[in-house]
Structures are given as C-alpha cells and as structure tokens.
C-alpha cells in the first residue's frame, strides 16, 4: 500500500539551512560525524544486503537457466526471448491491464464522489473515515476467501441476481466474470483509502477560493471544474500513480481465488485471472525456473516504469510548474507492501 505522508510540509532538504554546522576540518570535528553516520547505517547495510545485491544478482540470474538446486547454465538473453514468445505471459499482461483498467477507473471516480460527499458532511466524519478505511487494513487473504464465497456459483451475488429475476453470472468461471470479481475486490479495498486522500486534498483548499469564485458569479459546476479539480490535481496524480503501481502488481486476489492442490494455480478457467506477478510466482516458485522468474521481474519493472511515466504525464498535463518534482512524487509513495 502507498500513502500520502508529509506531516510537516517541510521544504526539501536542499532549501533548508543546516540545523547545526559542525566544523569537519578539525580532527575532533570529523569524529563528531561518527554517531549520525552510525545512526543511518542500519538502513544502508540492510539495503545493500537485501535490496541492492538481490537486484544486481537478478540481472545475472535472468541470463541463466537454473532450477534453484543444480548448476546454472548461461543462456544469455534467451530467457527474454522465450518470455516474448510465451503466450501465457502475454495473456497475463493483458489480464493485468484489463483488471487494472476495470478497477482503477471506477475506483478513482467513486473515491472522488465519496470525498465530495464526505466534505459536505459535518456529522459523524470520524466514524465514516473508520468505516471507509477498514477494508484497506484487513487481510487480503481473508477477504478474498469471503469474496470467493460471495461470487461462487451458488453464492450470495448470484442469489441476489436471481431474486431480482436475472440469471446468475459465472463470476469465477467466465472471462469477464473473473475480471469483474477481481476488480470489484480491488475497488472495495481501495475506494475508501483514495476517498480519504481526496478528502484531505479538498480540505486543504482555502475557503477564500470558493468565496472568490462566488463573488465572480461562478455556479457550482464552474466552481467544481475551475476551482476544485485543478487544485486536486496533485492528489489525483498521486492516487493514479499509486493505483497503477499497485494494479500492475495484483497477486493475492487471483492466487487465493484460483489456487488448487493438484494444479498449483493457473489463474482460473481459461487462465483469465492469471496476472503478471502470479505467473512470475508460479514459474519461479512452483516450476522452479528461477532465471525465467528473474527475467519476468525485469519486464514487470519496465512496464511499471513506463506506465508510471505515462500516468504522470497524463494527469499532470502540460504546464510544467504544476508538476511536482521527483522528490515530491517519491515522498508520496508509501511502502507498506514494499520491502
């Protein structure tokens, strides 16, 4: 999960005068640097061992054919060649994008609507926030199990449909049923989260702006499109980028819904629920093709990078002064799921 956190709204490090200048020219001064360097070292040591090294190693690994136990065999770029010709991989890419689109667009729209409603509401706001945020903090595995039963052939979703005289849908057996089920789970999980982020953005808009709009005779539609939405753009950008990053890494929903004892997982009937990360996991850890898994990790990385940039461009538009700097974007990308 990612989150927006900048509690202090502090300027970037380079704009800020140093809190305390120590003279590093004298020998005694130099030794004074030791405690702060020691203090920051755990992160860099851990990152070197568990972050940087594995990444460098994965480049090497992606050029090898290796089952994790026997000898590695150098195959050069062949893993990437196989990957590009692997129809299941391309299917998983397409599925991931379809699910991402089906979930992100309605989710951001609904979140915006909810945020506006919450903003106009004065009573019980605390209770609403808790209620809307709870889906986001609960275990995805447990909730996927619940949704799995709701979307089962004889489950609640079809019972409701039949009660209103509509035929049941193959939620977990048909192509669009599978994609809709996974998307609905994602929407349920993230709508409230994004609504709270948008709400905070709305609350940050100074009331004078609304008054100015009113004095100028703007109606509510003009106020919404000319005053509110432009000011919300950085927040919407943040939500769009994080939703893309999260959306391209969908795993748990598909894995838990369609896992079975005999086949491992195939992403459900017709592999319509197979996502990129699910395929990566299956190839590397179920079929022990570590080189292939490493290569897929890099392709996923490239896809995420490209889409993050596109997303960023799209939402931030063409006027450069509105675009937050890289540091600004980075500091808004939380790391709850990241290691």
């Amino acid at each position: 999960m990612a989150t927006v956190l900048d509690p202090a709204g502090a300027p970037a490090a380079d704009e800020r005068p140093p809190a305390r200048r120590t003279k590093s020219t004298t020998p005694g001064g130099r030794r004074r640097h030791l405690p702060p360097l020691l203090a920051i070292s755990p992160f860099y040591v851990l990152f070197a061992v568990f972050g940087a090294f594995p990444i460098v190693f994965s480049v090497y690994l992606s050029f090898q054919d290796w089952d994790g136990i026997g000898d590695m065999r150098f195959v050069g770029l062949q893993q990437y060649g196989w990957l590009l010709r692997d129809s299941v991989f391309w299917h998983s890419v397409l599925n991931t994008f379809e699910i991402w689109f089906l979930s992100t667009v309605p989710m951001l729209f609904l979140a915006l609507v909810l945020a506006f409603l919450l903003h106009s509401q004065v009573r019980f706001t605390g209770a609403y926030r808790v209620a809307y945020f709870i889906p986001n903090v609960t275990s995805m595995v447990a909730m996927t199990v619940v949704f799995g039963s709701v979307f089962a052939q004889a489950g609640l979703a079809n019972a409701v449909l039949r009660a209103i005289g509509v035929d049941g849908i193959g939620w977990l057996s048909s192509e669009w049923g599978i994609k809709s089920s996974v998307s609905l789970m994602i929407i349920w999980r993230w709508v409230g989260y994004n609504a709270l982020i948008f709400l905070a953005g709305l609350q940050a808009i100074p009331t004078e702006h609304f008054e100015a709009a009113r004095v100028d005779g703007a109606n509510s539609r003009q106020t919404l499109f000319r005053v509110v939405l432009p000011q919300l753009r950085p927040v919407v950008l943040f939500a769009a980028v994080t939703s893309t990053i999260n959306g391209l890494q969908i795993f748990t929903e598909s894995q838990v819904l369609f896992q079975s004892t005999d086949t491992g997982t195939t992403g459900g009937p017709g592999q319509e629920g197979m996502t990129i990360v699910l395929y990566l996991w299956q190839k590397a850890f179920k079929e022990h093709q570590f080189g292939y898994g490493a290569a897929m990790g890099w392709v996923l990385f490239a896809i995420i990078a490209i889409f993050t940039i596109i997303n960023w461009r799209l939402v931030s538009g063409s006027d450069d002064d509105r675009r937050p700097g890289l540091a600004g974007l980075l500091r808004r990308k939380g790391a709850r799921d990241g290691r």
Binding site: L5, F50, A200
Partner: protein, 290 residues
C-alpha cells in the same frame, strides 16, 4: 448514472448552500457506502457461524447461526492456528519495534546533524523507493536460501527492519517538532548524540512513532507473497499463509475456512480500531500538506 449530478451538487454543498433534500441524499449515499464497506465482515461472521450446508441454501441465510464456537474449535483441531498466530505476532511486533528504532534514529541524524555525503545518502534513500518489491522476489529468495534463512522468521523480520518510507516520514516530522534549542540545552548538559536521541527526540517523536508503528504493524501482519515464498516449511508459516492453505485443502468445508478467516482478521481489526483516530488523522494531515 446519477453520480455525476451528485458530484456537482456536493461541490455546491461544499461551498455551503445545499438544500435539505440534497443533504438527505448525501447522508443516504454515505451510509450506503458504509454498508458496502462493512458488509463483507458481516457476511464473514454469518458464514463462520453457520454450517457448510447453510451456504448452499436458497434463499441464503442472512443472519448469523449458532455454530461459531464449533467452527472455531474445528479450526484449532485442523491447523496449528496458535503456532501461526505466534509466528505472525513475533514478526509483526519485532519487525515494528526494529523499524521504529532504526527509522527514528536515522531520521534524527538526517534532520538535526550534518555529516559527509548527507545529500547524496538521502537522495539514494529516495531512489530505493522506486523499486517494486516483485522485482527482487526471486533473487531475494535465493539470497535467503544462501544465508540459510529460508523458512526462518528472520527472513520476514530482518530485511524490512529499516525502510526508506519511515525514515523519510520521521525526518519530516523531526525537522518541525524538535526545536534546536532543546538539543542545544541537552548539549550544554553534556549529552551526546545517542543520549539526545533517546531522552530528547524519542519522547517528542511519540505521535509520529504511533502512526508509523500501526502502519508497519498492519503491513507486516498482512504481508502474503513474501511469507508464501520464503516460509518453505509448511508447518511453520504465518497466519496469512496458513489461511490460504486452509482454503485450498478444505475448500468444500466453507464454515471451517470462514471461521479461520474470521480468527485471522479479528486481532488486526482490534489494533486498527484502537489506533484509528491517530492513524486516520495523520493520514489526512499528511495529504493536506501536499
């Protein structure tokens, strides 16, 4: 869909001139949202307290049944629930404590001290953010296997014991809530770096630590893909993996699986509800400053 109209009218309301009717509409919509948010939890309780036959009944039973305790008891007989609960608690608690300690220590140094290559090191910290976890899933597992840590709780705790997000966030907080005068006063009294950190900084960091703590705890508790990959011994897994296994092996016994799911969700919901006020306020406060 009428939602577009609603957006407009709520913006109208937001600037303070809504009619009584649209106010009722706003409340009804918000309440409907709450019901949708909470319904899966209610349904979890219904399924976990009924029998497996109830689930296939048409029309479905919409009220909780009397079998909750039986079903929970069967979970305890079927899987080592307390074993995996223990693993999860150890990982979440130890992991959170380490993150709070290392992140706040580093944040204190970054916020209040000068040292060589500080800008470069902080920039590097931000760049590490950009790397998606899945990229290093395979090599990280191989690293763990080489260390002999695969299957051990160390593999879940140590790699995430300090993170860029927490350091960045705590540093922002430290810059604004920790007055230099206070540190100078401490220095006059002869306190060194670590003493100042522990006696001056940590007490003032408390609200920020509370948020980071809940945030980290929830993340560690819910993590699924990494424990799934690295906890190679099926008898020694975390709650999330145990629940997924229960779902695969007993998926015809719905009420058993649902009771397990309920038991895995309850502790976390309690943690969230206890800390929710602080948590959500900080989340919103952070976004407002963007």
């Amino acid at each position: 869909m009428a939602a577009d109209d609603r957006t407009t009218s709520s913006a109208h309301l937001a600037i303070g001139s809504g009619s009584r009717l649209s106010r009722i509409g706003v409340r009804a919509t918000l309440l409907f949202g709450v019901l949708v948010s909470l319904f899966p939890f209610y349904w979890l309780v219904v399924l976990a307290s009924g029998t497996t036959q109830d689930i296939y009944r048409y029309p479905p039973k919409l009220l909780p049944g009397p079998h909750l305790l039986d079903n929970m008891g069967r979970v305890l007989d079927t899987v080592d629930f307390f074993g995996s609960l223990f693993n999860t608690v150890v990982v979440a608690v130890l992991g959170t404590v380490l993150v709070l300690f290392f992140d706040s220590l580093a944040a204190f140094a970054f916020a209040k001290y000068e040292f060589p290559a500080k800008k470069f090191l902080f920039g590097m910290l931000l760049v590490t953010y950009m790397i998606p976890a899945q990229l290093s899933l395979v090599p990280q597992f191989v690293t763990m296997a080489e260390f002999g840590w695969a299957g051990s709780l160390k593999a879940l705790i140590i790699p995430s014991a300090a993170n860029a997000f927490g350091i960045f966030w705590m540093r922002q907080y430290a810059q604004n809530s920790l007055p230099d005068e206070l540190l100078d006063a401490g220095r006059i009294d002869g306190a060194g770096f670590f003493r100042l950190y522990w006696t001056v900084a940590v007490p003032l960091f408390r609200p920020a630590l509370a948020f980071l703590g809940i945030f980290t705890f929830i993340g560690l508790w819910n993590d699924y893909i990494w424990p799934l990959v690295v906890m190679i011994d099926p008898d020694r897994v975390t709650l999330q993996v145990a629940l997924a296994n229960l779902n695969v092996l007993y998926n015809t016994d719905y009420s058993l699986v649902m009771a397990g799911a309920l038991m895995s969700v309850i502790p976390l919901i309690l943690v969230f509800l206890i800390g929710a006020r602080h948590f959500l306020r900080d989340l919103a406060a952070g976004a407002m400053k963007m």
